[in-house]
C-alpha cells in the first residue's frame, strides 16, 4: 500500500515537472503565433482570396454584366485562356523564350558583378564610404517611376553618343567600348560565345549595376560576418589571396549566392526591362483587362519557378552551411 503510494508519487513528480516545462514552451509558442499574427491574418484574409481568384480567373472569361449590379460576370471556360496564350497568340511563346534566355544571361552577370563589387567594397581603402554610398544609390533611386523615366530617356543617349557634330568623328563618351574588348578577346582565342557574353554584359553595364544593389548589400553583409580569425590563420599558413578567396570566402558565402540568385530572379519580374512582363501588361491594357494576361503570367511564373527549383536543388548540393542548427 505504502509502496504503491510512493510509486505514484515518484511517477507523478516527473510528469508534473515536464508539464511545467511544456507549458512554458507553449507560452512561448503562443507568443510566437502572436508575433506572426499580422502575416497570418493578411495572408488568410487578403492574399489567399487574391491568389485563389487569380488562379480561378485564368480559367475564366470576363464579360461586363448586363444587369449592372455586380459590374462584371465571370464565365468558366476551362483551359481556353492557356490555349489562347500558348497556341493562338503568335508573339507570346517567342517572347517567353527570349525572356527566359535573358534571365539566364542576367543571373550570372549580376551575381558575378555584385560579388566582385562586394569583395572590392569590403577591402579597406580610402573613400570606401563614399563609393559605397554611390553604389547603393540605384537601390534607392532607380526603381518604379525612375525606371520608366530612364527607359524613355532619349536625352541620355543623345548626350552620351554626341549629337552628330558634322566632323564625321563620332565623339563617344564611353570609357570602354565593347569593340575594344572584342579585339582583345579575338587575339586571346577564346570561344566566341564567351566573347559575346562579356561584350553584351559590358554594353548592359548600366542595367547590371542598377540591378545588383541589393545583392551587393547581401554579399557585403555575408562577407562582414566571416570571422577575421580564419583569414589570419590562412595568412599565417601562407595562403595567397587567390587561394583564400576560393577556399574560404567562396564557401562561406555560398548560401548567399543561392539566396541572391533567387532574389535576382524574383526581382527581374518587376523590372522595366523584363520583356515578358512588359508584353503581358501590354496584353492586359490592350484587351481592357482580359484574363488571357492572367493565364500568361501564370505560365511565365510557373516556368520560372520550375527553373528556380531546379537551380536551387542543384546548387544547394554544393552550398556549404557552416552551422547546421535549426
Amino acid at each position: 500500500m505504502t509502496n504503491n503510494a510512493v510509486d505514484t508519487i515518484l511517477t507523478a513528480e516527473p510528469t508534473k515537472k515536464r508539464r511545467k516545462i511544456a507549458s512554458l514552451d507553449r507560452r512561448k509558442a503562443r507568443a510566437g503565433w502572436f508575433f506572426v499574427l499580422p502575416f497570418i491574418l493578411g495572408f488568410a484574409l487578403i492574399y489567399v482570396p487574391m491568389f485563389f481568384d487569380s488562379v480561378v480567373m485564368s480559367f475564366q472569361s470576363m464579360e461586363s454584366a448586363t444587369d449592372g449590379s455586380t459590374g462584371y460576370k465571370m464565365i468558366f471556360i476551362g483551359m481556353e485562356n492557356y490555349r489562347n496564350a500558348l497556341l493562338v497568340d503568335p508573339n507570346f511563346v517567342p517572347t517567353l523564350i527570349s525572356g527566359l534566355k535573358q534571365l539566364a544571361f542576367d543571373i550570372p552577370a549580376i551575381l558575378i558583378f555584385s560579388l566582385f563589387m562586394a569583395v572590392m567594397l569590403n577591402q579597406k581603402m580610402a573613400g570606401r564610404g563614399f563609393f559605397r554610398a554611390i553604389f547603393f544609390l540605384p537601390v534607392i533611386l532607380s526603381t518604379g517611376i525612375m525606371e520608366s523615366i530612364a527607359a524613355a530617356d532619349t536625352l541620355n543617349t543623345a548626350m552620351s553618343s554626341g549629337i552628330d557634330d558634322g566632323s564625321g568623328t563620332n565623339t563617344t563618351n564611353q570609357i570602354v567600348s565593347s569593340m575594344d574588348l572584342e579585339r582583345l578577346f579575338s587575339s586571346m582565342k577564346v570561344g566566341t560565345e564567351i566573347v559575346e557574353y562579356v561584350t553584351s554584359a559590358i554594353n548592359n553595364i548600366y542595367d547590371i549595376v542598377n540591378r545588383s544593389g541589393v545583392q551587393m548589400l547581401i554579399f557585403l553583409a555575408a562577407l562582414q560576418s566571416i570571422s577575421p580569425a580564419i583569414y589570419e590563420s590562412c595568412k599565417i599558413d601562407g595562403a595567397t589571396a587567390w587561394e583564400t578567396f576560393w577556399k574560404i570566402t567562396f564557401p562561406m558565402i555560398s548560401p548567399m549566392i543561392l539566396v541572391n540568385g533567387i532574389y535576382t530572379i524574383i526581382d527581374s519580374f518587376t523590372t522595366e526591362s523584363n520583356q515578358v512582363m512588359t508584353y503581358i501588361s501590354g496584353v492586359y491594357s490592350r484587351t481592357g483587362g482580359m484574363v488571357v494576361s492572367s493565364a500568361m503570367s501564370w505560365i511565365y511564373f510557373l516556368l520560372v519557378i520550375l527553373i528556380v527549383a531546379v537551380i536551387g536543388a542543384v546548387f544547394s548540393a554544393f552550398v556549404f552551411y557552416g552551422r547546421k542548427n535549426d
Binding site: 481568384d53 554610398a133 518604379g144 558634322g166
Partner: protein, 382 residues
C-alpha cells in the same frame, strides 16, 4: 655589412636621467629604395590604381544618368538642339522647375506622397519587425511552413495577381461581411441564400445597416452590396502593409529574421526574468537595440513606396489624388513644337524625375551610413 655592424651607436649621458643615442642612419635614398622598389609595393600600387580606376569608372556609370538629367533640367529649348552644348547649358534657366511647381501641383503631390509613403513605411517596418521577430526567436508548430508562405508571397510577383488584386480592392469584402450587412445575404459556393424564398430575402433586406457612403476621404467611400470600393484611397496599400504583403515585404521579413537571430538570447531571457512579457520585451529591449536595421528597412520601404508606380497606377486610377509619380507630364506652358520637341519633353520628364527623387537623395545622405551598418550587423550568412 661589416662596416655597418661595426658602427656601434654612441650613447652619451646628457644629464642625470637623460641619455642621447647617436648612430648613423641609412641614407634617405637607400631607405626609399628599400621601401618602394620591391615587388610587394609595386603589386600593391598596381592593385590600388586598378581598384581606384574601377571604382571611379563604375561610380561614373551610376552617376552619369543623373548628371545628364540635372544638366538637361537647366537648359533652355535652344540649348537642346545646339550641338556645341553638351553638359553645361548656355542659357541657364529655371523655367522647367518653375512650371512643374506651379502648373503640375508639385507641393500638393509631394504632401500626398509623403503621407502615403510615411504611413506605409512605418507600418511595414513595424509589422515586418513583428513577423521577423516571431520567426527568429520563437519555436512553434508550423513555423517553417509559415516562413515558406512568407517567401511564397515574395516569390509570386504582384504583377501575376494584378487583375485579382484590383478586383479585391474594388469590391473589398472580407469573408462576405459587407455583403451580409448590406442585406445581400450569404453566399456559399455560388449559392445565394437570399434566393431560397421571398421571406428570407425580405429578412436580409432589413439587415441593410451599413451606410452607402463612409466618410473616410473627402468624397467618402462607396459601399455597395458587392463590396466597398477602396480604390483611390490609401487603404489598399495600408491594408497590404498591415498584412506584411506589400512590395518586397518578404525581403524585409527575411532580413529582419536574420538580424534578430544574431541577437543574443540572453537579452530577452534577462527581461523575462524581470517579469517582462514577450511583447513588452520586444518593444523595450529588442527594438531600441536594432535601430540601424530598422532605419535600413524603413529607408527601403519609404523610398520604394515613394517611387512606386505599379501600385499607385493600379489603385489610384482617378486623377483626383495627386501623387508625385503621376505628375510626370509636360506642363501646358512649356509645350512647344520645334525641331527638338522630343528632346525638350524628355528633359522635362527628367526634371520631374529629379524633383521626385530629390527628397530621397537628402534622406539617403542622412541614412546611408545606417544602410550598410544595419545590413552588416545582420549576421546574414548564419
Amino acid at each position: 655589412m661589416n662596416a655597418q655592424a661595426d658602427k656601434q651607436p654612441v650613447v652619451k649621458r646628457e644629464s642625470k636621467n637623460r641619455i642621447r643615442v647617436e648612430f648613423d642612419r641609412t641614407p634617405l635614398k637607400d631607405r626609399l629604395k628599400a621601401k618602394f622598389l620591391n615587388s610587394y609595393f609595386v603589386t600593391r600600387l598596381i592593385i590600388w590604381i586598378f581598384r581606384l580606376v574601377l571604382m571611379v569608372g563604375i561610380s561614373y556609370i551610376v552617376l552619369y544618368p543623373f548628371f545628364t538629367k540635372i544638366a538637361g533640367s537647366f537648359m533652355s529649348p535652344e540649348d537642346l538642339v545646339d550641338v556645341t552644348v553638351r553638359l553645361i547649358p548656355k542659357n541657364f534657366t529655371l523655367d522647367i522647375y518653375k512650371a512643374i511647381v506651379s502648373e503640375l501641383g508639385y507641393w500638393k503631390a509631394f504632401g500626398n506622397t509623403f503621407a502615403l509613403s510615411f504611413t506605409c513605411a512605418i507600418l511595414q517596418t513595424f509589422v515586418c519587425c513583428l513577423i521577423g521577430y516571431g520567426f527568429a526567436k520563437f519555436k512553434f508548430k508550423g513555423r517553417n511552413l509559415l516562413f515558406m508562405l512568407v517567401m511564397l508571397t515574395m516569390i509570386i510577383p504582384h504583377q501575376t495577381l494584378q487583375l485579382s488584386m484590383y478586383m479585391e480592392f474594388r469590391y473589398f469584402d472580407i469573408l462576405g461581411i459587407v455583403r451580409l450587412l448590406k442585406g445581400g445575404g450569404i453566399q456559399i459556393f455560388g449559392l445565394n441564400i437570399k434566393d431560397l424564398g421571398p421571406g428570407v430575402a425580405a429578412f436580409f433586406e432589413k439587415i441593410n445597416i451599413l451606410p452607402d457612403v463612409i466618410p473616410i476621404t473627402k468624397k467618402g467611400i462607396e459601399v455597395t452590396s458587392s463590396g466597398i470600393n477602396l480604390l483611390n484611397t490609401y487603404l489598399p496599400l495600408i491594408l497590404l502593409s498591415l498584412g506584411g504583403l506589400a512590395f518586397k515585404n518578404g525581403l524585409y521579413v527575411f532580413l529582419l529574421r536574420q538580424f534578430f537571430r544574431g541577437m543574443p538570447d540572453e537579452l530577452e531571457e534577462s527581461a523575462y526574468m524581470d517579469g517582462c512579457g514577450p511583447f513588452h520585451t520586444f518593444l523595450r529591449i529588442i527594438l531600441p537595440n536594432s535601430i540601424p536595421m530598422l532605419i535600413t528597412v524603413f529607408l527601403f520601404a519609404f523610398c520604394w513606396q515613394w517611387t512606386d508606380d505599379y501600385y499607385t497606377g493600379l489603385f489610384f486610377s482617378s486623377m483626383n489624388t495627386s501623387l508625385l509619380v503621376k505628375i510626370v507630364a509636360v506642363p501646358p506652358s512649356l509645350s512647344t513644337s520645334y525641331a527638338g520637341t522630343e528632346l525638350y519633353n524628355t528633359a522635362i520628364r527628367n526634371t520631374c524625375g529629379i524633383m521626385i527623387i530629390f527628397p530621397l537623395v537628402i534622406l539617403y545622405a542622412f541614412c546611408q551610413n545606417f544602410l550598410v551598418q544595419g545590413i552588416e550587423h545582420s549576421g546574414i550568412a548564419n
